[in-house]
Amino acid sequence: MSGTGTPVVEATGVVKRYGPTVALADGSLAVRPGEVHALVGRNGAGKSTLVGVLTGLVEPDAGEVAFGGEPAPPTGDRAAWRALVACVYQHPSVVKDLSVAENLFLNRQPRGRFGLVSHARMRREAAELLESWSVPVDPGLPARELTVEQRQLVEIAGALSLGARFVILDEPTAQLESRAVQRLFGRVRALREQGVTFLFISHHLPEVYELCERVTVFRDARHVVTDTVAALDRERLVAAMVGEARGLVRAGADRPPVPDDAEPVLELTGVGVPGVVGPVDLVVRRGEVVGVAGSAAGGKRQLAEALAGLRPRTGRVAVAGRVVRPGSVRAALDAGLGYLPGDRDVDGFVSGLSVAENATMTIAHRLGPGQLVLPARRDAEARRVIAELDVRTTGPHQPVGELSGGNAQKVAMARALAGDPEVLVLVQPTAGVDVRAKESLLGAVDAQTRRRRGALLVSDELEDLRVCDRVVVLVGGRVVAEHPRGWDEGGLVARIEGIGEDHD
Amino acid sequence: GCSKDAPTGTPPAGSGPGGVGVDLPRADSDFWNAYARYVPEKAAEAGVELVSTTNSQNNVQTLISNVDSMVTQGARAIVMAPQDTGAIGPKLDELAGRGIPVISVDTRPDTGQVYMVVRADNRAYGTRACEFLGEELGGRGKVVEFQGSLSSVNGRDRSEAFKECMGTRFPDITVFEEPTDWEGGRAQAALETRLATDPDLKGVYMQAGGVFLDPTLQVLKQRGLLVPPTDPRHIVIVSNDGIPQELDAIRKGEIDATVSQPADDYAGIGLHWARRALAGERPAPGPTDHGSTVVELPNGFEDQLPAPLVTRDNVDDPALWGNGSGS
C-alpha cells in the first residue's frame, strides 16, 4: 500500500557533529507517502539525531532535507515544521507541572471569549482526544503524576493530534506493555489507511516486521541499507545493524535446569506493598531466573521497588537466608540484592557523573582503604564492566548523560551487578536497548545466574522472559499463574491480559 | 474620581499635653544603643510621657510607617533621627500640617518643616579631626581616612569637611580616602594595603569609633605600630563618636583623639525640646540654658550642640557622656 513518487521526506547526506563526536556522518533516508518506514540501528547509530534534524530541532552541519520535494523550512520557523512533521521524541518531553490537557495543547491552546485560553474547552477537547485513544487519564492531572506508559500515550496522542501527515515515533514502544503496543499499532494502521506516513524507530525487531513496509538501517552514523522488510529477513537485518555476519546467540537458550535441591536465595513470605501488592509468596533458588509478568496495574514494578527498599512493605523477605529490613536500600544492598530500576531516566543514573562513578556507586566502600575511593581502582573496575557489558563510551570518565539510551541502560545494569549480589532484581532491563546490547544484557543476566546467583526479572517483554526458568504472572497484586520454561506465548499473554479484570 | 492625598489617621485630640513618640534610627551601633538607653532615662528627667519607641533600622520607609503608627497611638510630638534627610521631607510637612511638632536629632532634613534640629554639626567633626591631625603631623605626611557609607549623610558631611579642610589648610598632607560602607573588615584591608604601599603613613581618621576602633588597633598591633606617641613610628589616630572604648584607648595612648558625639545630650535635649513643643512654646534664635546656640533654618530651628574634641588632656572629664554611667 505504500505509494511511490516523491518521497514525503527525503534526507540526503546529513552530517551532524557535536564537538569531536560525529553523531551523523551520512544520514540519508527517503520515506514514501503512506508507508510505515522503520529506522533501526544500534544504540548511538544516529537515529535520534536524524529525528532531530527531520523535526527541525537540530541544525545539520551539512546535507539536505526536503519534504515532498520542497526544501525544508528555516530552522526558526517552528510552525512550518510542525505542520509538516509530528514527533514523539525518545526522551520524555512533557512539562511535568502542567496538566495533561495543557501538555496536549501546548502552544495551541483552544481559545474562547476575548481570545483568551479556555481551560474548559481545552479539558473537554483533551478528554475527547484521550478517549479516542482509549487513554484512561484524567486531563486535569499534572503530567508529573502519570506513569511512564500514560505519559507516553499522552505524548503520542498529542503529537498525532497535530494533524501532520508525517509522523515520527522514536522508540515509542520501549516502555509500553504489549496491549498498549497493540493499541498503538492499531492506531498507526488506521492512520496509515487515511494516508498518514510514519517513520518508526524501535529496537524490537518483531515490531518492525509486524508494522512496517520498509526499513532503513543505520550503522556507525551512516546509512547502510534501505529495503522492504520482506527482502531483509531477521538475520540480514541484524547483520546490517551489527556490521558482521555472525548471527545472534539467543541468550539463555541452553540454560541448565535448576536442580530441585538448589538452595533458596530469595524468599518472599506474605510480602505486600500497601494498596498495591500482596500478599505474595515466592522463592528464587540459586541458579534460577524467575520472570515476573503482568499488566502495568498488576503491581510487579512496585513489588520490585519494595524488595529494593525503595518502598515500604510488609511481610518477610530473606536473601540467602538472611532477613532483610524493609524500607532501606542499604539493607537490601548489604543483604546481597542488586537492583536495576525500571526507568533509567528517573533513578537509573546520575547524568552528570561519569560512567565509572555511576557503575561503582553501590560499591564505593570497596574501592580503597577505609572511606577512600581510589580513582585508579574505580576506573579499573569501570573498564572491566565496560568491556563485559560492551558499553559504547569514550571511557570511564564520560558522563553518563552523554551516552545513548541503551548504553546508559548498560551502565545501570553494571551498577546492579557491581556489588556481586546474591540475587538480582531487574525491572525492564532491556527497555530501549538495541538488539546486540539486549543480547549482551540478557546474556549477562544468564551468565551471572548460572551458578550461584538468582534473579527476579520483571518485564513486559516476552523476549526477556524467554531467559527465565519460570515466569509468574501478577494480576491485581497477586500471583495468578506460574509458567515453567518453554511456555507458550499465547497462554502466557492470555494470563497477563487475563480473566477480564486485568485493568486496574 | 481623583483626589489629592489627604492626611490620614486621627487628628490630634486636644486633651492634655499628650505623649512623645521616639523613633530610633538603628539598633546595630554602639552610639545609637547608648542613645536608646538614655531615652527613657531622660524622658523621666524631662517629665515627658513616652507613648512609643520604635526603630526604623536605617530605613526611611520603616521610619515613615513607624511615625504613622506612633501618631495613631496618640503621640503628639515626634523625636526622630532620619538618616535619609531627603526622603523624609514630605512626611515632615504632613506632620506639620497636622500640628505635630518634630524634633530631628543628629540630622538636619533637607526639606520639610521641623520644630527643632538637635545635632552637633557633622561637618564640624570632620573639620576638627582634620585640624587635630594637621597640627599633630606638622602639616605634612600621609593620612588614611575611613569613610562611612557614601549613602549616609553624616558620613558624607564628615568626608567633605575633612577633605575641604585638608585641601585648604594642609595641602601637603596626602589623604587616602577609603570607602568602607561602615565595615570594619574593609577598613582593615584598606589600612593594610596602605601600610604596604606607603609605609610612611602617619595618620588615620576613622569616621566611627564603634566600627573601626578594634580592627584598626588589631592591624597596628600585628605590625608592631601600636607604640606610644613619643615613638617616631607612632601613627596619629583620630576617631569619631566618643564611646567608652575610645576613651579607654586614648587613656592607654593607643589612639590620640576622638570627636565626642553627645549621645546623652541628643536624648536629653531632644526630649527637652519635645516637652517645650508640647507646651506650645515657640523656639527663638540665641543662646540656650544648656550652653548651646539655636539658629534659625529655612524649615525650622537648629540647636547646635558643641562637639568636644577629646584628647589625652581632657579624657577624664566626667562631663563626657562616654565616662558616664549610662553604658
Partner: protein, 354 residues
C-alpha cells in the same frame, strides 16, 4: 484564576473512558480542593494576623483607612517587584538585579529632569520621567537577556554582577546625596505619590491592575502559559514550537520595566531618590514570592499566591510594630513568624515545597 494557574482543575463530569484506572483518575473534587488549597495556603496565617491586629487595636485595625494607608500602601512597590520576580522565576530564571533597577531607573530619569547632567537638552521636560525610567528598566532586562540567553551565562551570577554594578552606578549618579523635594519639582512624581482614585491611592490601583493583567495573561493566554512550559521543561517547550529564548528575554524585559515602575512609585511616595533606594529589597522579594508558592525551580506558582505572600509579610511587619515588640527583637520575631507561616503553609497544602 486558581484552577487556571495551577492547571490541575478537573472536569466535574466523567468524560474519561469508562473503567479508567484509579491511579490516573484521582477524584476531581479532591484534586480541585488541593489546587485551591495550595493557592490559599497563606490565608489562614493572614487571617490570624488580622485577628491579632484587631485585638491590639480593636477600634482601628480593621478599618479600611488603616489597612489601606498603613499596611497596603507601603507594600505596593514590593508587590510590583514581587510580580516581576515571580514572572522571572516562573520562566525558570532568576533576577537579583531588580532591586538595583528600583534604584537606578528613577535615579537616572530624575537626574535628567532636575538637571545636573551635562547631556544635550538637559534638563529634560519633567514628563519624561516616567517613560525614561521604564525604558531604563527595560534596557537592564535587555542586557540581562543578552548575557543569559545569548551567552548562556548563569542568570544568578549575571544578575548579581549587574546588581553590584548598578548599585555602584547609582551612587555615582546620585552622588551620595539624596535627590529630594521632588514632589514640588516633578509633577509626575507628585501625582504618582499623592493622587487618589475612588479613595484608594494610585499606587494601590497600579498594583491591582498589574496583578489583574498578570493573572489573566499568565492564566489565559498562550504567551502566559508558555512561561510555565519554558520554566518547566524548556526542551519540551521548544519542541512544541515555543520560542524559548524569546519568551525568556521578553520576561526579563517586562520584569525590568515593572521594577522600574516600582522604583518610580517608591520615589514618588518618598518624594526623593536616595543613593541606596532599593538596597536589600531583594531578600524580601524572594521571601514573599517563595512563601507565596512560587518555586525557584521554575514553572510553578501563581501570581495570586505571590500576592498573598506580599500581604502576609506586610501584615507581619505592621502587627509587630503595633505590638510594640522591642526593636532588637523585632527581626528575630519576624524571622520566626515567617518560619511558622512556612510550616503552616506546608501543613495546609500537604505537599513538599520545592
Amino acid at each position: 484564576m486558581t484552577s487556571a494557574a495551577t492547571g490541575t482543575d478537573a472536569p466535574g463530569d466523567g468524560t474519561g473512558p469508562p473503567g479508567g484506572s484509579p491511579a490516573g483518575r484521582a477524584r476531581p473534587a479532591n484534586r480541585l480542593r488541593l489546587a485551591r488549597l495550595r493557592d490559599l495556603a497563606l490565608v489562614p496565617p493572614i487571617v490570624a494576623l488580622l485577628v491579632y491586629g484587631w485585638t491590639l487595636k480593636p477600634d482601628l485595625f480593621l478599618t479600611k483607612a488603616y489597612l489601606v494607608d498603613t499596611v497596603l500602601k507601603y507594600q505596593t512597590e514590593l508587590a510590583l517587584v514581587v510580580l516581576a520576580e515571580a514572572l522571572v522565576l516562573i520562566v525558570g530564571k532568576f533576577d537579583l538585579s531588580l532591586e538595583s533597577v528600583v534604584g537606578i531607573a528613577p535615579a537616572i530619569a530624575v537626574f535628567l529632569v532636575v538637571g545636573g547632567a551635562d547631556l544635550p537638552g538637559t534638563p529634560w521636560p519633567t514628563w519624561t520621567v516616567l517613560p525614561v525610567a521604564l525604558l531604563i528598566g527595560g534596557l537592564v532586562g535587555l542586557f540581562n537577556g543578552l548575557l543569559i540567553v545569548r551567552f548562556t551565562l548563569s542568570a544568578f551570577i549575571v544578575t548579581l554582577a549587574v546588581l553590584i554594578a548598578l548599585r555602584g552606578l547609582q551612587l555615582a549618579v546620585v552622588g551620595g546625596a539624596t535627590m529630594s523635594n521632588l514632589a514640588n519639582r516633578v509633577p509626575v512624581i507628585d501625582h504618582l505619590g499623592s493622587l487618589r482614585f475612588l479613595t484608594l491611592p494610585i499606587s494601590v490601583w497600579v498594583v491591582v491592575v498589574c496583578f489583574g493583567v498578570g493573572i489573566v495573561v499568565l492564566g489565559y493566554t498562550r504567551v502566559g502559559r508558555s512561561l510555565y512550559a519554558v520554566g518547566g521543561n524548556p526542551a519540551a517547550a521548544r519542541a512544541a514550537g515555543i520560542r524559548v529564548e524569546r519568551v525568556v528575554w521578553v520576561t526579563l524585559v517586562v520584569a525590568g520595566v515593572l521594577a522600574a515602575f516600582a522604583g518610580l512609585m517608591l520615589s514618588a511616595r518618598l518624594g526623593s531618590v536616595a543613593a541606596n533606594q532599593g538596597d536589600g529589597m531583594i531578600f524580601t522579594v524572594f521571601a514573599a514570592a517563595v512563601i507565596g508558592g512560587i518555586s525557584l525551580d521554575g514553572g510553578k506558582g501563581t501570581l495570586f499566591g505571590a500576592l498573598t505572600g506580599v500581604v502576609l509579610l506586610g501584615l507581619i511587619q505592621n502587627v509587630l510594630t503595633l505590638a510594640q515588640v522591642r526593636a532588637d527583637q523585632i527581626q528575630a520575631v519576624n524571622g520566626l513568624v515567617i518560619l511558622v507561616a512556612l510550616v503552616l503553609a506546608r501543613l495546609t497544602s500537604g505537599k513538599a515545597q520545592d
